[in-house]
Amino acid sequence: MKHQIDLNAIPKEKLRFAQLDAKLSDTKFEDKPIGYFHDAWIRFRKNRASVAATVIIILIVLFAFVVPIFTRNHMGVMDTYYAKKGPRHTWLKETLGIADGGVTGSYSEMDFVRYAAIGVGAEDKDGSSVQSIKDTMGTLYQPLNELIKVEESVNKLSKKTTMRFTAEFDNYLQVGFIYKMVTQQEYQKILDYQNETGLQILYPLIENNEWNPDPTDANYWYKCDKKFNAVTVNEKGKATKLNYSDDLVLEDNYMRDENGEVKFWQYAGGGTFDTAHYKIRILYYNYYYYLHDFFPDYIFGTDAQGYDLALRMAQGIQLSLLVAVAVSAINMVIGAIYGAIEGYYGGAADLIMERVSDVLSYVPFIIVMTLFQMHLAAKVGPIVSLLLGYVSIGWIGMAYRVRTQFYRFKTQEYVLAAHTLGANDWRIIWKHIFPNAIGTIITSSALTIPGVINSESMLSYLGIVKLGTASTTSLGTLLADASSIWTSYPHLMIFPAMVLSLLMICFNLFGNGLRDAFNPSLRGVDD
């Protein structure tokens, strides 16, 4: 039962004014107002795919700018012996067992022994102790990573047994030893370096006798017959073929003097002491360190010419991004101005300008790019003419979009009001109408970037734009260089193609995310 109050019976002194001193004007919002961009950002953040794409783009950009810092000393190093080699990184090889430079292949017995013998020869620094192949497994210079299987097959006609070896060899160590002609001073320098650092570069020369089947190949340090089979020779000079087994010990065939000491150099012409040339036999892996001061640790391998592929890719991404961002920025400016003038003034100006952009929009893209390259590449360089080519027709789409926005907004009442209040054309265009187009402009600028990256790599792949120099390259050029040889060296194609696809996918996702954020009514409409 509620207690009823008679409202009229309340005594006057019990009543008081509730808001006697309070200001009854609008109170301030307690929240911060959300602006256009903030609103867009909130929407963008919710789109998980776009955020992930943005993160990947940032990572790729970081890759493009950080890799050249870490591989500063790889810059300009082009090594023909180590061209087209697969990924290899000592640290990753030891810790994770990946990127070991290894390529699995099928080898005949003589080839298998030849490559495995490199590791044995490298351990035997002065020709004193030849170890078995098994004992050198796992040593630093042994190219044989893993012997996967040995198959024996019998030829039906000749009844001969042949062995096939499936094995994984480290591509870099597989280069093994090479001969080199050096001046006397150079020899001394290498020798000093070797004594100082303990890095064995010089290895004994090989005797040029009947057991050396190929005097130009520095890897046959063991006795071989004319068919390149490893042999053992008894006192009477009779050779017996050695078959591969785990504990096979090869017989060395080094050049020795009367005292039985191995020789490390041989006089190879040249008159005086200073000009004399020596023939030396070097382990290329260590010689490489002597030359460049780093071991061939190439995380993505080396490209077709022998550059570090990771560095080349970083340079390619840099160039692609630079061109794409520059093109999209320039097109944005030109397109915005052109479209604004067209859309705002309308009439005859619009008709003429529209006709011009209509004609230009039908010029085939590839022909524009070709003509720009043909005319300007020799004068201003391929990159500048590439940019000019893009800019010459790329702004049309932007102009069209801005024009549409202007047509939509120029007849609205607030524009009329601004006119009446005396705002001039310039002010109305940029202050009142243009901000309405900003969302569209940002979105289509962002979506320009993947298009430019794609077409730029297509043009350089086709060779219409020639971008490959020692310090710059593009992803398309890398792919073009790889195109004829990549079935044998898949990494040349896989890494650049992967990065390119990833860039394209992520920029498209990023652009779509931006569009949804700036223009939520268009969400899910793909055009």
Binding site: V359, P364, I366, P450, L479, I505, D527
Partner: protein
């Protein structure tokens, strides 16, 4: 003359005007490039020089331009190839290469159109379900990846790993001297596949967008109210309307492919128009290059006009040009 007739004529005149402008620009820019005499003995070079003189290659640009159009109109002569096929008319050089390009692109359309449209319809019907988001995600990935990456993937897996397909399209002599023999079709599977991935994805996305729009229209509600099942309403009403923009887009993307499959032709060494273009640049065969410019411009304009006009023919609601 009806409304449509006027519009068609207006479009055609505009197209001719655009075509004329672009050809003029290209001609000036191409002829302004320095011409290099081909390699050969002294007498051959002398002959070519005399021939060039007679063809007016050394006259002022404007005069050359007049000669160019005169030759086209009177003799259908678009110039002469000096590098690719010595002294063969540029027109013959181009048309001789048209068939392989058209065939490869036509095959890829035959593969892509049904798959793309069906996937698009399926995604639209299952809108906002997991099937739709799965298809949309895959389509997004497939649209973004450049076509030559597909070419490498196809080559790597189907040629290199599995050995099912040849690396390149066969030369004419290896395929019974016919562009339509089974052997030739077999060797074209790889480029057709490489082209199809992107096409399928593009069509699927377009179909889905159009169909989802027409599925939410009022006439669909009416169709359901009068007793049609969902399948009937979709196939008889929504699909019909959605097809209006899809059909022209198929046509124009076919034409776009002819102008844009250069890189696929290069990778699979198809002796088509695209490889001709690259060769004409590398050999500086300017007359053939000019022929290519004319061809690509024409194809581009044709695609544009077909799209525009077919909207009008297919959909009576669209009154073009009416303001």
């Amino acid at each position: 003359m009806g409304y449509m007739g006027k519009y068609v004529i207006k479009r055609l005149i505009l197209m001719l005007f655009t075509f004329f402008c672009i050809v003029t620009m290209c001609f000036m820019l191409v002829r302004a490039l320095p011409r290099e005499l081909p390699q050969g003995t002294a007498s051959q070079v002398e002959q070519i020089k005399a021939r060039w003189e007679a063809l007016g290659y050394n006259k002022p640009l404007l005069e050359q331009y007049v000669i160019y159009w005169k030759n086209i109109i009177t003799k259908w002569d678009f110039g002469t190839s000096w590098g690719i096929a010595f002294r063969k008319p540029a027109w013959d050089v181009l048309t001789g290469r048209l068939l392989p390009t058209v065939l490869v692109n036509a095959y890829s359309m035959v593969v892509a159109v049904p798959i793309g449209i069906l996937l698009g319809i399926y995604a639209a019907i299952k809108k906002n379900k997991w099937q739709d988001s799965f298809i949309s995600t895959v389509v997004m990935l497939f649209i973004s990846v450049p076509s030559y990456v597909y070419a490498f993937l196809v080559q790597y897996f189907l040629y290199f790993k599995l050995g099912w397909l040849p690396l390149n399209v066969y030369a004419l002599a290896d395929a019974d001297n016919s562009w339509v023999s089974w052997k030739m079709i077999y060797s074209m599977i790889a480029p057709v596949l490489a082209l199809s991935f992107g096409e399928i994805a593009g069509l699927c996305r377009f179909t889905r967008a159009e169909l989802t729009e027409s599925l939410t229209q009022d006439y669909m509600l009416l169709a359901r109210t009068k007793g049609l099942t969902r399948a009937q309403a979709t196939s008889r009403h929504a699909l019909k309307v959605a097809m209006v923009p899809i059909l022209p887009s198929i046509l124009s993307s076919f034409l776009g492919l002819i102008g844009g499959s250069m890189i696929i032709e290069q990778i699979f060494s198809i002796p088509g128009v695209g490889t001709l273009y690259i060769r004409s640049i590398n050999l500086l065969d300017y007359d053939v290059f000019m022929m290519d410019c004319v061809f690509y411009t024409f194809i581009g304009l044709l695609a544009g006009i077909i799209t525009d006009l077919s909207y009008g023919f297919l959909d009576p609601r669209i009154r073009m040009g009416a303001r």
